[in-house]
């Protein structure tokens, strides 16, 4: 980078810092953004969050790198990094993170028609519309290409019938980006990418209760749902490519979900006590804690290394590796926290357990999903074996 670029960036950084100092509500500093992202009700009920959202999207920074004409900030990649860094410095976060902004937006920018971009992107950039993702089906989880939801042309309108599952927050979503089958004679080559208004007649949503009590995954039943022709992104039967691109973004974001976790040493010392040498006073748990701390640290280092190596764009093949390592590190950690709690890690609700204990227990239960969603552990291993390591397919099949 030349000196002009560097000094421009420095100027930008100080502008950002000044704007953030003025506009970011201190009450939100270092708050975990996920509850706001995952739950519309939580987001709606926090006035400071709403203020912060409004200020950010007015500034265009709800979608910092999108073109200004679509409601974005028009920032360069370098500027976007500076914005992220400056936010991190004061514990701020982008309040407009959402499925729409993170997954669908970049996909529309690449594949949608001009008209579609103009129609769908600005409401996402402004945080006004919530999107959900209708990909998985009961018979097509890891094997997405087997999906069955039919979409037929009925006099210039698409008519959709089928069932989607594992649709995050469908019960709070306004719209759904959906994979549908438009040709039953081919597998990947018969899939199209369709945008469906969740208020359409024939759309029914049922939340799925998970073993952790979580209810944000849903089943979505689609019965004779009529969708305008203009809601298809890309050409008919060409949706697979779009989906793959989008899923790569999903894995990117999942792999990054758990980069920096605080150590468990403090909690363990408090729970278990220390011996006369100051070491945690349970050798069995202590060794597992140390092993997990080491893997967690090495995972964070790996995440940073991959980010550095892939700087300059493009989607890295390392994503599958990161996904599996991240999931296993996080699962081991959740398991360890519950083990640390012992009998106090059995609480579901009510008297006798602290809020933190119940949260940890439910987090432990929920952690089993880490190696299932976003491409299961097994599917990622297949990808690593074939695409990264170049191992062969079975002959004669």
């Amino acid at each position: 980078m030349n000196d002009v670029g560097r000094s421009q960036d420095e100027a930008f950084a100080s502008d950002v810092a000044a704007w953030l100092a003025e506009n970011f509500p201190p009450s939100l500093a270092y708050r975990n953004p996920h509850p706001y992202i995952n739950d519309a009700e939580v987001a709606a009920s926090d006035r400071d969050f709403q203020t912060w959202l409004k200020r950010m999207v007015d500034k265009g920074w709800g979608a910092p790198t999108w073109p200004v004409e679509y409601g974005g900030g028009g920032l360069t990649r370098a500027q976007d990094k500076i914005l992220t860094r400056e936010m991190a410095r004061i514990g701020a976060f982008n309040p407009n993170r959402s499925y729409g902004q993170m997954m669908l937006g970049p996909t529309l920018l690449e594949y949608a028609s001009e008209e579609q971009k103009a129609r769908f992107l600005p409401p996402i950039a402004r945080g006004e519309v919530r999107w959900c993702q209708g990909f998985s089906e009961p018979g097509a989880g890891s094997d997405l290409a087997s999906l069955q939801t039919r979409c037929v042309d009925d006099g210039g309108t698409w008519v959709v019938n089928g069932q989607k599952i594992w649709t995050s927050n469908a019960h709070q979503a306004d719209w759904c980006f959906c994979l549908v089958r438009t040709d039953t004679s081919r597998k990947q080559g018969g899939i199209s990418f369709l945008l469906i208004d969740m208020r359409s007649r024939g759309v029914e949503v049922r939340p799925i209760v998970l073993i952790s009590g979580t209810r944000h995954f849903c089943e979505v039943f689609l019965t004779d749902v009529r969708v305008p022709r203009t809601n298809m992104v890309g050409e008919i039967n060409r949706g697979w490519e779009i989906a793959k691109h989008l899923l790569q973004h999903e894995r990117d974001s999942l792999a990054g979900n758990r980069t920096e976790l605080p150590g468990l040493a403090g909690m363990a010392r408090a729970r278990l006590g220390v011996d006369e040498c100051g070491r945690i006073d349970d050798p069995w748990l202590r060794q597992r804690l140390i092993a997990n701390a080491m893997r967690t640290e090495a995972y964070s280092q790996t995440f940073r290394r991959v980010a550095e190596e892939s700087a300059g764009g493009g989607v890295s093949t390392a994503v599958s590796v990161l996904k599996n390592l991240g999931a296993s590190v996080s699962q081991a950690r959740a398991e360890l926290v519950a083990d640390l709690l012992g009998n106090q890690g059995l609480g579901w609700e009510g008297e006798g357990f602290s809020e933190e204990e119940i949260e940890a227990t439910r987090a432990w239960l929920h952690s089993r999903a880490y190696s299932i969603y976003g491409g299961s552990h097994e599917v990622q291993n297949n990808i690593i074996a074939k695409r990264v390591l170049g191992l062969p397919d079975m002959a004669g099949r």
Partner: protein, 378 residues
């Protein structure tokens, strides 16, 4: 399963039939919805009483069959398969064993027939916090003119809310904090100064906090020698541990078989997923763990029945392996079922929750690995 006597075989088959007909997993779901904290269905427990299971560890003179630990294990294995929730281990194994192994004739007469006939639910009130720690009891029993005064709080007490009788472990004290060893006290749930609070846990086992605020126990309620009850407690605990291990093995076995069925029926990428070699090898690995665990659990139960001096180490081996294996198998059951395994509606999660809860009962795998290590000179 190693060779069984004819009677043992009949006992197992009867248990298998009964569980299938009367206590499938759907009963646990129903209980979970309507549980008020007692953690069991009286109707089902009555069925077990009718089958004679509450008397398996009760001497014949008090209405039991004295059929032994392996017999009890065979029943619990079948109950474990469908995660039947009942105070059978707490009452008819742990408490019955304390009484049968260390009670006076009067105490046995007073309580054992009731346990065998299902009129009395009993449980140990032992642990006091995060972990199973029989050596770390702080509840005190202070000598006074009328016998003993108990103060302290126990948690979690399995089936503590339902129990009629509590076998309370307390530290004998002269009132000035002097440590006089462990005593076991028979306390009726109706005693003055006793207070119970429900613990709502992920698994259904009627857990409660039981607080003792100056509860008075007469000398007739003292089990064995006050201050020297540690070995008695340990013997009774070992029976509860080995029987729980067998219950866990049954549950793990069922979770494994359900998963195998799934592997044989679920199609992905145009194949039965059970045809994928990576999953085949994982299944083979789990099978090996189950086999190791079965051997260890059976050996422990037999050692207890033979009063083998090596029983403590074998029991700890069994309970530790059962804990590790059940937790592993249950986690793999969810993973191999994929998304559906994560849903409340699917059974895998119930096994997963029971695995942690059962592991923690009467000492988890880490506790028993450590105990085994010490006993084996490591």
């Amino acid at each position: 399963m190693a060779k069984l006597s004819e009677e043992q075989g009949m006992l197992r088959d009867a248990a298998s039939d009964w569980v299938r007909e009367s206590a499938p997993l759907a009963r646990l779901r129903r209980l979970r919805e309507h549980d008020t904290g007692t953690g069991y269905e009286p109707e089902l427990y009555e069925g077990m009483v009718q089958m004679g299971w509450t008397g398996i560890l009760v001497p014949e003179e008090y209405g039991g069959s004295a059929f032994g630990c392996l017999g009890m294990g065979l029943v619990l294995e079948q109950l474990g398969r469908q995660l039947v929730a009942s105070p059978l281990v707490a009452t008819a194994v742990a408490s019955a064993s304390v009484l049968a192994l260390g009670g006076s004739a009067q105490q046995q007469r007073r309580w054992l027939p009731g346990i065998a006939e299902g009129r009395v639910l009993a449980t140990l009130a032992l642990d006091e916090g995060d972990r199973h720690a029989p050596q770390a009891i702080t509840t005190t029993a202070i000598r006074n003119a009328d016998g003993w005064r108990l103060d302290g709080s126990k948690r979690p007490v399995c089936y503590g809310l339902a129990a009629d009788l509590l076998v309370v472990a307390a530290r004998i004290s002269d009132g000035d904090g002097h440590d006089g060893g462990i005593g076991l006290f028979l306390v009726e749930a109706s005693a003055d100064g006793l207070r119970r609070t429900r613990l709502h846990e992920i698994d259904t086992r009627g857990a409660a906090i039981v607080a003792f605020d100056g509860v008075q126990v007469s000398d007739a309620g003292v089990l064995g020698a006050p201050g020297g009850a540690g070995p008695l407690l340990d013997r009774a605990l070992d029976r509860a541990r080995a029987c729980t291990a067998m219950e866990m093995l049954g549950a793990a076995q069922q979770a494994f078989e359900t998963t195998l069925d799934h592997l044989k029926t679920r199609v992905q990428f145009g194949q039965l997923i059970g045809a994928f070699q990576a999953l085949q090898h994982r299944a083979a690995g789990l099978y090996g763990e189950l086999e190791l665990t079965r051997s260890a659990v059976e050996a422990a139960l037999r050692a207890l029945d033979e009063d083998d001096a090596d029983s403590p180490a074998r029991v700890s081996l069994a309970k530790a392996l059962a804990g590790d294996t059940f937790r592993l198998v249950a986690a793999e059951a969810i993973q191999l079922h994929g998304g559906i395994g994560m849903t409340e509606e699917h059974d895998a999660g119930l096994y997963f929750k029971r695995a942690r809860s059962a592991d923690l009962s009467y000492g988890d795998a880490a506790f028993h690995r450590e105990r085994y290590g010490v006993l084996r000179g490591y």
